[in-house]
C-alpha cells in the first residue's frame, strides 16, 4: 500500500522551522517533497548552531528527513527559471520568506501560477501576507508574544513565558491542514490557490476562548498551573531531584479515589474538600497535603497507581523517558532512525496511525545537499548531463 499522499509533489523553498515542519509532515504522509537549497544558503541544520552549541552540521534533523534535496541558486536569473520548471511539475510550492521576497525573486504566486495555473502555493510568515505588520521579521518567541500565548503563560506573580519550537511546529502542522484542504478543493474544482499562514495568528488560535473573554470586556491573566475549577490540579514534587507529578482531579469520584490511594480516607469527609467548589476554594491547603504525599513517591509509580483507580495523572517526563517509552514506541510516535554511520537514534514520527497506511513516517534521514539531482534534474526535468554541467559551471546549480 502506498502512503496516502503518494503522487503529490511539493517544491519546497521553506526555511527555518515552521514551513519545513509542514512539508516534513506531508513528506512522511507520502508527498514527494523536493527541498531547494544552495551552497550559498544551506539549510540551518547544515550549519553550526551557536545557540545550541552544535559545532558542526546536524547528522539528522526532524524537519528535512525523507525530503529530496536539490541545489538552486536563487540569486541567478537562470536559477529562477529552473525553479519555475520545477514548480511546473509540482502540485504545491511552499515558501516561508518574509512577505515580498518571493515576488522580488520572480517566484511570487502570480509568476508561479503563470507556469502552473492550478498551483497550491503555501506562504508561511510571522504575521501573514497582508496587514500593516506583514513585513515584521519573527521567530517562535515573537509569534508567541504577539499572539497572546506568551502573556497568558507563566506564574501568576511572574513574567510572561517565551514560547519555543513548539510554536514553530504548531504553525507547520496548521499549514499542513490548510494545504491539504486546498488540494481537496483543487481536486473538486480544478482551482488552486494561495494559502497564507500567519504564525502569530496560529499562536492566537490556541487561546480562542481567552480572546472571547477579552472581546466581552474581561481581561484574563496568567494563572500558573491553576485550573479555574479543578483541585487538586497541578505539578507536585515527587521523590528525587527535580522530579514532578501532574495530577488533575475533576470529579468527586476522582477525589475519593485519590484519597483512597493516599490512604487518607478521612479527607474524603473533610468539609474543606467535600465538594469541587470547596476543594477549589481551599486548593492551597490541598496542594500542601497532596505534595506531602507525592514527595515520597517515584513519579511514574505514583502515576500508575493513580491511573489504576481512574485519577488523571502523569509524571513530568524528561526527554530520555519519552524516547524510551513503550507506549509511544508501540504507536510509532517515537521511531528509531539510523545515522549515516549506522548509529541508531530516536526520532519523532508522524502523529497519527492509519489503518490503511501503516508505512507512513520517516523513510530516510536528512538528505545530503543536492543528493537527488539525478532524479529531479535527470528524470523529472529531463535535463541532459551537459545542460546540468553548464548550470553547475555557471553556479546556478550550486
Amino acid at each position: 500500500m502506498a502512503k496516502p499522499l503518494h503522487g503529490i509533489r511539493i517544491a519546497d523553498f521553506t526555511v527555518h522551522n515552521a514551513g519545513p515542519f509542514c512539508t516534513h509532515l506531508l513528506s512522511q504522509l507520502g508527498a514527494e517533497v523536493i527541498k531547494v537549497e544552495s551552497a550559498m544558503r544551506p539549510d540551518a541544520f547544515r550549519k553550526p548552531h551557536p545557540v545550541y552549541g552544535r559545532m558542526g552540521p546536524a547528522t539528522f534533523d526532524q524537519v528535512a528527513s525523507t525530503k529530496l534535496s536539490i541545489r538552486i541558486n536563487l540569486k541567478k536569473p537562470e536559477g529562477i527559471e529552473l525553479s519555475k520548471r520545477l514548480v511546473g511539475l509540482s502540485d504545491v510550492a511552499a515558501e516561508s520568506f518574509r512577505p515580498g521576497v518571493m515576488a522580488r525573486l520572480g517566484l511570487g504566486y502570480d509568476a508561479l501560477r503563470a507556469v502552473k495555473p492550478d498551483l497550491v502555493m503555501l506562504a508561511v510568515s510571522s504575521s501573514g501576507q497582508s496587514g500593516p505588520d506583514s513585513h515584521f521579521a519573527g521567530y517562535a518567541p515573537l509569534f508567541g508574544a504577539w499572539g497572546g500565548l506568551g502573556e497568558l503563560t507563566g506564574y501568576e506573580d511572574g513574567p510572561p513565558v517565551e514560547m519555543r519550537h513548539v510554536m514553530d511546529h504548531t504553525v507547520g502542522m496548521n499549514a499542513a491542514v490548510a494545504v491539504m484542504a486546498a488540494l481537496h478543493r483543487r481536486r473538486t474544482t480544478g482551482e488552486g490557490g494561495l494559502v497564507d499562514v500567519s504564525a502569530r495568528e496560529v499562536a492566537s488560535s490556541l487561546l480562542g476562548e481567552a480572546l472571547l473573554l477579552a472581546a466581552a470586556g474581561t481581561e484574563p491573566h496568567r494563572t500558573g498551573n491553576d485550573h479555574s475549577r479543578m483541585a487538586p490540579h497541578g505539578v507536585y514534587p515527587a521523590a528525587g531531584d527535580d522530579r514532578w507529578l501532574s495530577i488533575a482531579v475533576a470529579s468527586d469520584a476522582e477525589w475519593q479515589a485519590l484519597t483512597g490511594v493516599m490512604g487518607v480516607g478521612e479527607l474524603a469527609g473533610d468539609v474543606r474538600f467535600t465538594s469541587a467548589e470547596a476543594r477549589h476554594a481551599n486548593r492551597r491547603e490541598l496542594d500542601q497535603i497532596v505534595s506531602g504525599w507525592t514527595v515520597t513517591l517515584e513519579a511514574n509509580d505514583a502515576a500508575e497507581r493513580l491511573q489504576a483507580v481512574g485519577v488523571p495523572a502523569h509524571a513530568s517526563w524528561t526527554t530520555p523517558e519519552i524516547a524510551a517509552d513503550p507506549h509511544l514506541r508501540a504507536r510509532e510516535a517515537i521511531v528509531e532512525v539510523a545515522e549515516p554511520d549506522g548509529k541508531i537514534r530516536a526520532a519523532v514520527g508522524v502523529p497519527m496511525r492509519l489503518s490503511k497506511g501503516p508505512e507512513i513516517g520517516i523513510a530516510r534521514g536528512t538528505p545530503k545537499l543536492g543528493e537527488h539531482e539525478d532524479y529531479v534534474y535527470g528524470e523529472l526535468l529531463g535535463m541532459a548531463r551537459a545542460e546540468r554541467e553548464a548550470l553547475e559551471e555557471a553556479e546556478v546549480i550550486y
Binding site: 503529490i8 551557536p50 545550541y52 552544535r54 546536524a58 497582508s130 521579521a137 521567530y139 518567541p141 508574544a145 504577539w146 499572539g147 497572546g148 506568551g150 497568558l152 503563560t153 517565551e162 502542522m173 499549514a175 491539504m180 484542504a181 481537496h184 478543493r185 490557490g193 494561495l194 497564507d196 495568528e201 496560529v202 492566537s204 490556541l206 476562548e209 481567552a210 480572546l211 472571547l212 477579552a214 472581546a215 466581552a216 496568567r222 500558573g224 485550573h227 490540579h233 497541578g234 505539578v235 514534587p237 501532574s246 488533575a248 488523571p312 517526563w317 526527554t319 519519552i322 524516547a323 519523532v348 508522524v350 502523529p351 497519527m352 496511525r353 492509519l354 489503518s355 490503511k356 497506511g357
Partner: protein
C-alpha cells in the same frame, strides 16, 4: 456557493473533549458542514470554563470550539439514538469520535463496527493517549498531557525560571496539547480522505500526546545529538523576555545584522562596542552580562517606544500582547482574524476565525455556537430525533 476549500464535505463529531471538537472546528471553518452529536444534556464542553457570564451558563471554550457547527441531540446509549447516528454517518465523509476505547464496542462505535457499516467513512479517533498501545485506557487532562509529551517539563524558561528556579514547571496556557491533537486529527482526516478514491474509508488513530510530542520534536532531536534539554538551560543566552517600564518585550537576535541593529538601538554603548562581541559565540558566553545591560536600559523605557525604534532597525522585537490587545490589534483588523458572531446569552462578540487565509481572503464562520439540538434529521428519520 461558497469557495471555502472543503465545501461539500460533511463531518460528524461525537466530541466531549477539546481535541475532537477542535478537529471538527478546523474542518468546519475550512468549509465542511459539521454536525456535533450531543447527549440529551449537551456536550460536556458546554460546561467547561472559562465562561462568558456570571452564572456560568455560557462557555467561552464551547463557543470557540463549536462555532459554525450544527447540534444534533442523540442518545447513543439507546437503540433509537444509535440508529439516528447511523443515519447521520451514512451521509458523512468524516466521523470524529472521542468515546473512551472501553465504551466503544457496546455503543457500536468501535473501529470494526464502523468500518463494516460505513465502508467509505473516514473514522477519526481523537483521544489523549490514542486508541492503541499500552496506555490507551489512561485518562488525562491538559496538564497531564503537557507533562506526558515533553514541553511540560521544559517550561518555564528564560526570565521566569531565572526568577523562580525552585518552583514546579509551569504549563502552557489553555489547551495547548489537546489542540495539537485536534490539528493532527484534522490532518489525518484530510490525508485519509485524499486517498479514499483508491482505498475507501479507513480508521485514523490520533493521540494528543503524540501530537504535542511531534511539535516538541527538537528535544528528541537534541537527545540524539547528545544533549538533554532542561528548562533552566534552555534559554537564549541574551534577549528573551525583557521587563520594561510598562510591560514586557520579547527580544531575539540570531543574525549578525540584528545584533548590530540592537547595539544601535541601545545607543552604541561602550560595552557593546567591544570587538570581542562581534563574535556570536563570544556573545553567547557573555550572554548574562549582555542581558544585565539590556535590562537596565529597558527598565526605564516604555514597550511601545522600544518596539517602534527597534523595528526601524530591523531588530526582532515583539510586545507581549494581552488578549485584549490581540482582539483590537489594527493588523488583525486588516487581516480579518476576528468575525462578529452571535453567542446566545452573551450577545454578539468578535471571535477568532482561522490562522490562515486560502485564496487571499480570510475564511468565514457560518455562525456562533449552536443551540442544543437545533439540527433535525431530514423527514425520513424524524422519528429518531430525540427532544432535548
Amino acid at each position: 456557493m461558497s469557495n471555502a476549500p472543503l465545501t461539500g464535505l460533511r463531518v460528524v463529531a461525537n466530541a466531549s473533549g477539546v481535541a475532537a471538537a477542535y478537529a471538527a472546528r478546523l474542518l468546519g471553518t475550512l468549509g465542511a458542514e459539521t454536525i456535533l452529536v450531543e447527549p440529551l444534556q449537551g456536550s460536556a464542553l458546554r460546561d467547561e470554563p472559562p465562561f462568558l457570564d456570571a452564572d456560568e451558563d455560557v462557555s467561552a471554550l464551547f463557543a470557540y470550539l463549536a462555532a459554525g457547527a450544527r447540534s444534533f441531540v442523540c442518545d447513543v446509549t439507546s437503540d433509537a439514538g444509535r440508529a439516528a447516528l447511523g443515519g447521520l454517518l451514512s451521509e458523512a465523509d468524516i466521523f470524529i469520535d472521542d468515546t473512551l476505547p472501553a465504551e466503544r464496542t457496546a455503543l457500536g462505535l468501535d473501529e470494526e463496527a464502523i468500518a463494516a457499516r460505513h465502508p467509505d467513512l473516514i473514522h477519526v479517533s481523537a483521544l489523549p493517549f490514542g486508541s492503541h498501545g499500552p496506555k490507551a485506557g489512561w485518562k488525562a487532562h491538559e496538564i497531564n498531557l503537557q507533562h506526558a509529551s515533553g514541553e511540560g517539563n521544559l517550561l518555564p524558561n528564560g526570565l521566569s525560571v531565572e526568577m523562580f528556579p525552585d518552583r514546579p514547571p509551569v504549563k502552557i496556557y489553555g489547551h495547548f496539547a489537546e489542540l495539537q491533537g485536534g490539528i493532527a486529527a484534522a490532518l489525518g482526516a484530510l490525508s485519509a480522505l485524499w486517498v479514499r478514491p483508491e482505498l475507501g474509508g479507513q480508521y485514523v488513530d490520533v493521540a494528543s500526546q503524540d501530537a504535542a510530542l511531534a511539535v516538541g520534536a527538537f528535544a528528541i532531536q537534541r537527545l540524539g545529538d547528545g544533549s538533554i534539554e532542561h528548562r533552566v538551560e534552555r534559554s537564549f543566552r541574551y534577549g528573551g523576555v525583557i521587563p520594561c517600564a510598562d510591560g514586557y518585550v520579547e527580544l531575539l537576535t540570531l543574525e549578525q545584522r540584528q545584533w548590530h541593529g540592537l547595539v544601535k538601538l541601545l545607543g552604541d554603548p561602550e560595552w557593546a562596542l567591544d570587538p570581542a562581541l562581534d563574535d556570536s559565540l563570544e556573545r553567547s558566553r557573555q550572554g548574562p552580562l549582555i542581558n544585565t545591560h539590556i535590562r537596565a536600559w529597558a527598565a526605564v523605557r516604555k514597550v511601545e517606544d522600544i518596539v517602534r525604534e527597534g523595528q526601524k532597525l530591523s531588530v526582532p522585537l515583539a510586545k507581549y500582547y494581552t488578549p485584549a490587545e490581540v482582539v483590537r490589534d489594527p493588523h488583525e483588523a486588516v487581516r480579518g482574524l476576528f468575525q462578529p458572531v452571535e453567542i446566545a446569552g452573551a450577545g454578539v462578540l468578535n471571535m477568532l476565525v482561522s490562522p490562515f487565509h486560502v485564496s487571499g481572503e480570510p475564511l468565514h464562520l457560518r455562525a456562533g455556537p449552536p443551540a442544543l439540538g437545533e439540527y433535525r434529521l431530514p423527514s425520513a428519520n424524524t422519528a429518531a430525533n430525540v427532544e432535548a
